[in-house]
């Protein structure tokens, strides 16, 4: 056995394990292992995942210098590397548009690249070279601050499962055909687009993340969607567009996602859904929907209240509901249509699975309070109803509390948590 203490055990581990160790190190540490001993000389050179960021070099105030040493580091590391590179990630604000990246991508395109992440800095955006579109085996493509203009012959990435476009300059029709050209796409994330009208056809899509000033989004063919998070910003233009819109956004957006489990909406999402809303029959039941989070819901807008009600009442398995308000207290105090809460359809429904409700930014206006009352009376297994008043509401807090304690609760175990600050 020899002197067990002095045995070099780590060097004799199978290459697959060594690689799995090296892959978990920052690349600078991984490259440095080549000076450990003769056995370690080229071990790092065949790791299949390369992640570069500015930690590869020592930072200083001279941007040009950092940029140059970063480029040198990456170029040389790629030269020293041998074998396939399945993942290449470059995340740094120090690099923007530079010809070296084109060369790296060309190199990668010949080395079996499967996952490519380019997260570049502001300034001049990097124009993705044509060779990228010939990486037929790509499964993941993340582009930050790039310009995307596929060649005419490009038909799509047949293996792509995850696509992220963040601040990417691309024509709307190109983005649409790119999405539909990736038949296996499961994960789509699009952010920072202006006035984008988009028709998403992705039969295998499971996760959708949208953020930006969208004009018109339609989920045309996304039957398998499991989770979505949408943040909608609104400009005057878009608001105007919404005014004139005649189609029902709720149906266009949520009409074809029967398998949805998790829905998160930010900013104007609820408002967006309320555009063109009609009080027709419910077309769809979200049997899998367990978590709904809607932010900045305006309880002064009856249409938005209808959207919320329609969503939760079509989700028989809902377990968790989070809503943050954005009521303009002055207007909402008047609150017409309070008889809504006496409607038979509301009195007939129960939330059999609802356990947790979080209401934040509450201003205590009538429709908000009615909504809380409604949930408390219709949720037999509710465990926690937490209520956090909006920071601007100071005087009304006591009144809110007084009202809250009067509400009947369907759940014997339910507690009300009133959160101050």
């Amino acid at each position: 056995m020899g002197d067990a203490l002095d045995q070099d055990l780590v060097s004799d581990l199978p290459q697959s394990i060594i690689e799995s160790i090296l892959t978990r190190l920052p690349i600078r540490d991984a490259v440095r292992t080549s000076i450990l001993s003769s056995k370690w000389r080229y071990k790092w050179a065949s790791i299949t995942q390369l992640v570069f960021d500015e930690k590869c070099v020592t930072l200083c105030n001279d941007r040009d210098l950092v940029e140059k040493s970063l480029i040198d580091f990456i170029t040389r590391a790629l030269f020293l590397h041998k074998g396939p590179i399945h993942k290449f990630q470059l995340s740094t604000t120090y690099l923007q548009c530079c010809p070296d990246i084109d060369q790296w991508i060309l190199f990668l395109s010949r080395n079996d690249i499967k996952e490519l992440v380019l997260e570049l800095g502001e300034g001049e955006w990097f124009r993705v070279p044509a060779c990228l579109f010939y990486c037929k085996r790509l499964t993941r493509l993340d582009l930050f601050r790039c310009e995307l203009d596929p060649p005419l012959t490009f038909k799509g990435f047949l293996c792509l499962k995850s696509l992220t476009l963040h601040q990417v300059l691309v024509a709307p029709d190109v983005i649409e055909s790119l999405i539909s050209g990736c038949p296996l796409l499961e994960n789509l994330s699009i952010s920072y687009f202006d006035s984008l009208a988009l028709n998403i056809k992705a039969p295998n899509l499971k996760f959708l993340f949208l953020e930006g000033e969208f004009k018109d989004i339609s989920l045309e063919n996304t039957p398998l969607l499991v989770a979505m998070s949408v943040a909608m910003y609104m400009t005057e233009d878009i608001a105007e567009h919404f005014e004139q819109s005649s189609s029902c956004n709720f149906v266009k957006f949520l009409g074809g996602v029967p398998r949805l489990e998790r829905l998160i909406g930010h900013i104007y999402f609820t408002k967006y859904l309320s555009i063109g809303y009609d009080l027709g029959n419910l077309l769809i039941t979200y049997n899998y929907l367990k978590v709904i989070e809607l932010n900045q819901v305006s309880f002064e807008d009856m249409k938005e209240i209808y959207v919320v009600l329609r969503l939760i009442m079509s989700s028989p398995n809902l377990g968790e509901l989070q809503i943050s308000g954005s009521s303009n207290a002055l207007v909402a105090l008047e609150a017409p249509d309070l008889d809504l809460w006496e409607k038979q359809s509301l009195l007939n429904c129960t939330f059999e699975k609802l356990k947790l409700v979080k209401m934040t930014d509450m201003s205590g206006v009538p429709h908000e309070m009615e909504f809380v009352k409604f949930l408390l009376s219709r949720s037999p297994v509710l465990e926690t109803m937490s209520i956090a008043p909006c920071v601007y509401v100071m005087d009304g807090r006591l009144n809110m509390l007084i009202e809250l304690v009067r509400f009947r609760r369907a759940s014997p175990r339910g507690e009300i948590v009133f959160i101050q600050e």
Binding site: D8, P14, I17, I21, L25, V31, S38, V57, C60, F73
Partner: protein, 360 residues
């Protein structure tokens, strides 16, 4: 919900299988625990392990002690109902062991195809390596330090555009050349006994040399050069060195007369810092490509320094990079002095050589 409770509740329901480790010992373990390892699972499905005679023989890399650890791991994770946090806490505790054991465990888990454990242990090993200097890593894992300093520099040279590494490589190149030269000289020595004597003389001169006898040193050196050139001429196969000596002749006068004419501001300041250096010494190191005659004491010094330099290069990576970067920015060479109170000469070689580089 502890394991103890589980054991009490269903002792009879449990079925056992037989496992044999490479050392020949056979043990009986709970089937549902062992089945957590894909390799064992496959064997069981194939009908193995049901009796002592059909014990499943485990791969070489699994010894009884490690098997015990692995089964502990499986026993915990095979029980449903642990929260993610509980699992994480267990894992954190589980991998608290010395690196030797951790390596054995990784290897054994790999041979049993127990991927979650391989991931866990690789992550632990990576955490041990991360941020450590090569020396520390070697010490931790008992790695042999079997690369030459030059080999160690090679990847660094390729990865970083470090002027000091270029310098070191030049120094190495010169060292190599020097060794060749010595070989050649040795051959000559067979005929000319005096050669060795002279180098001893040089050595003595050098040792006494610091106290302002620069003239004497210089003359001695040039004498040596002349002799050496003769040697080169004799040794007609060596064209390169002949050329170098010609170059040397062409280049040496300015150095002898006054280096100010060539000195950049930073160099001048450097020289002022180091007034006690004899010019001849400077000449020796000013242009690495040209001079190739070093006396043994200096060579030894140089070797030592190169090694030390390399060691520093390897050890204090981040600080060094910082130095390099500031160096690149300001073109100052002050940071080259490696330890403040070290011998003066110690500082001078790289400074002089670097200023040579700067000119390039």
């Amino acid at each position: 919900m502890s394991d103890g409770v589980m054991a009490v509740v269903k002792p009879e329901m449990k079925s056992y299988i037989w496992l044999q480790t490479a050392d020949g010992s056979i043990q009986q373990v709970e089937e549902e625990v062992a089945m957590f390892c894909p390799m064992i699972c496959r064997e069981v499905i194939a009908g193995m392990g049901s009796s002592k005679n059909y014990a499943i023989s485990l791969p070489q890399r699994v010894n009884p002690a490690i098997l015990g650890l692995i089964l502990d791991y499986c026993r915990f994770h095979q029980v449903p109902g642990h929260s993610n946090k509980e699992r994480k806490t267990y894992d954190e505790k589980f991998i608290r062991m010395d690196t030797k054991k951790l390596c054995e465990l990784t290897s054994a888990a790999d041979s049993l195809q127990l991927k979650p454990l391989v991931d866990l242990t690789s992550r632990a090993l990576a955490r041990i390596i991360e941020g450590k200097t090569p020396e520390e890593i070697r010490e931790t894992f008992h790695l042999p330090d079997d690369l030459t300093e030059e080999e160690k520099l090679e990847p660094l040279r390729n990865i970083t555009d470090d002027p000091r590494i270029r310098l070191l490589n030049r120094l190495y190149a010169r060292k190599r050349k020097e060794l060749k030269e010595r070989e050649k000289l040795k051959n000559v020595e067979v005929e000319e006994e005096r050669v060795d004597e002279r180098s001893v003389e040089d050595l003595l001169t050098f040792i006494n040399g610091g106290d302002g006898e620069s003239k004497g040193v210089r003359s001695n050196k040039s004498k040596k050069k002349n002799r050496r050139r003769k040697d080169h001429l004799k040794n007609s196969s060596n064209d390169i060195n002949g050329n170098h000596n010609k170059e040397l002749d062409a280049l040496s006068p300015p150095f002898h007369d006054g280096e100010d004419s060539k000195a950049s501001p930073s160099r001048t300041s450097k020289l002022q810092d180091s007034t006690t250096v004899s010019f001849s010494t400077k000449l020796e190191f000013d242009d690495v490509d040209i001079d190739d005659d070093l006396d043994p004491a200096m060579k030894e010094e140089l070797d030592r320094e190169v090694e030390d330099f390399a060691r520093r290069l390897n050890s204090d990576w981040p600080e060094r990079m910082q130095e390099i970067l500031s160096l690149g920015q300001e073109r100052r060479l002050v940071s080259m002095s490696m330890n403040g109170n070290g011998s003066r000469r110690y500082n001078k070689y790289p400074a002089a050589a670097l200023s040579g580089l700067e000119r390039c």
